[in-house]
């Protein structure tokens, strides 16, 4: 049976992991490659790396990092953050990324999705959406959630999929950072309406939240950052709990092999 995916997300600035990461036994806590390898060993199903580097010059550092990650880990990974055009995508896929995620640039120029899907294939184009509930409507925000757009979430993701987006990474800004659980309603609405996988993001605080977003939210995958980085939730234990609750997950069979932090 196709399993539900658990996806840790790492924010990268100037080639280093941002935010303290409370892992024991890691020589350089900020080294994304080491972290990525540990997550892969712990049973993460995919990884997402978001480049939050502020300057264009430093973006080259990110592409170099992507190469190192590709060589070190043997599970799929997505990279995103600041992707503007076809050549950005070509560079990151050439460096070994399996998928790229686009957000603001796609809202500004929806035709970019068509261009990227035609050249690289829908399977590697993830549309990332930051959304916020405003009364009865869910609005798409841009620039890392700082700027409201004119688009409503549901119609935007539908259009994006028609244009060739192969997967949706849906972050609820209302839930992100709260640790009160994922946005179940909009995740379910979008997941049921669209023929492509939906990754839920924002709000993970407990293993039960993952159970809910898979069962109630109908998500295909769930993404989280700090609960994994700070070892509040350990992936092997999370997967066993989900498995016990009849959510199909990939158990790697090495669940006791990881040091503290995982």
């Amino acid at each position: 049976m196709l399993t539900k995916r658990i996806i840790p997300c790492l924010d990268i600035r100037d080639g280093e992991t941002v935010k303290g990461v409370r892992f024991v036994e890691i020589r350089r806590a900020g080294d994304p490659v080491e972290l990525a390898r540990r997550y892969a060993e712990a049973g993460a199903d995919e990884l997402v790396f978001l480049d939050i580097t502020a300057t264009v010059e430093k973006r080259r550092t990110f592409a170099e990092l992507v190469e190192r990650i590709a060589f070190q880990i043997n599970i799929p990974f997505t990279v995103g953050g600041g992707i503007q055009n076809e050549s950005d995508v070509a560079r990151l896929l050439d460096a070994g990324a399996d998928k790229i995620s686009i957000n603001t640039a796609a809202v500004r120029d929806p035709g970019l999705i068509d261009t990227l899907a035609a050249r690289f294939g829908s399977q590697c184009i993830v549309l990332a959406v930051d959304c916020k509930q405003e009364g009865n409507i869910s609005r798409v925000y841009l620039n890392g959630g700082r700027k409201p757009s004119e688009r409503q979430t549901q119609e935007w993701v539908r259009e994006a999929v028609q244009r060739g987006a192969g997967e949706i990474l849906l972050t609820s800004m209302d839930h992100d950072g709260t640790k009160n659980g994922f946005a179940l309603e909009i995740t379910r609405e979008i997941s049921e309406a669209l023929p492509v996988p939906v990754i839920a993001s924002g709000g993970a605080g407990t293993p039960q939240h993952f159970f809910e977003v898979f069962r109630e939210g109908k998500a295909d995958a769930a993404l989280a950052a700090s609960v994994f980085h700070f070892a509040e939730i350990r992936i092997p234990e999370l997967k066993i709990l989900l498995h016990q609750q009849k959510i199909p997950v990939r158990l790697t069979g090495k669940d006791n092999d990881y040091g503290s932090g995982f």
Partner: protein
């Protein structure tokens, strides 16, 4: 060992090269018939569309070369589909190494079939050391129908051939280069096959 990865107009062969590098093997990428014929082993990977890939293979005369190879050949993803008799994608006659046909997943479930799924009914040398129901990473919208040549089965909408083997020809629908330690072991099993088809058993 000389290993050639067949170059054609299908994407994403880089991750295969990286995975081979992880196993300490440097592969050559080539569409030159002489180089391909001379290799000890050949990998035929790819992500893309069946009819345009077949047209490219025909232009380069690889459509007759590949089925005639006598060393171990490993098709991956689109490579597996192109090694079948026919693909529904673009109603395309394919290389006919395997007698089965490739169908699109019907509407109803999400397509592509993307993520980790179990492989079962395993047989053949590629799955040495791999337990039943091991998980592998899939991304595909078309799948080969079950048949006598299947060496692994996966279920999504319908049971399909996740792996095929006939003599020296092997093929995987999933991406071993992205399937964690399981995938790495399968690739290693391929690299460790004897170089000629004699002695190779399903």
């Amino acid at each position: 060992m000389s290993l050639v990865v067949i170059k054609y107009n299908a994407g994403n062969i880089r991750s295969v090269l990286i995975a081979l590098g992880r196993l300490g093997v440097a592969a050559e990428i080539s569409n030159d018939p002489g180089r391909i014929r001379a290799a000890e082993k050949v990998i035929f990977p790819g992500v893309g569309e069946a009819s345009s890939a077949m047209r490219y293979l025909q232009e380069k005369k690889l459509d007759t070369l590949i089925p005639a190879l006598t060393q171990p050949v490993l098709g991956i993803c689109l490579g597996l589909q192109l090694m079948c008799r026919h693909s529904e994608e673009g109603d395309t006659p394919c290389l006919n190494v395997f007698s089965t046909r490739v169908r699109r997943f019907p509407p109803g479930k999400k397509v592509p079939h993307m993520g980790w799924n179990a492989i079962s009914s395993l047989r053949g040398p590629l799955f040495k050391g791999i337990p039943e129901n091991a998980y592998c990473y899939f991304v595909h919208s078309y799948a080969a129908e079950c048949c006598a040549e299947q060496t692994a089965v996966t279920e999504y909408v319908f049971p399909f051939a996740a792996a095929l083997q006939k003599d020296n020809f092997f093929a995987l629908q999933f991406h071993p280069e992205k399937s964690g330690d399981t995938g790495q072991r399968i690739l290693r099993n391929f690299l460790e096959l004897p170089p000629l088809k004699e002695g190779m058993q399903t």
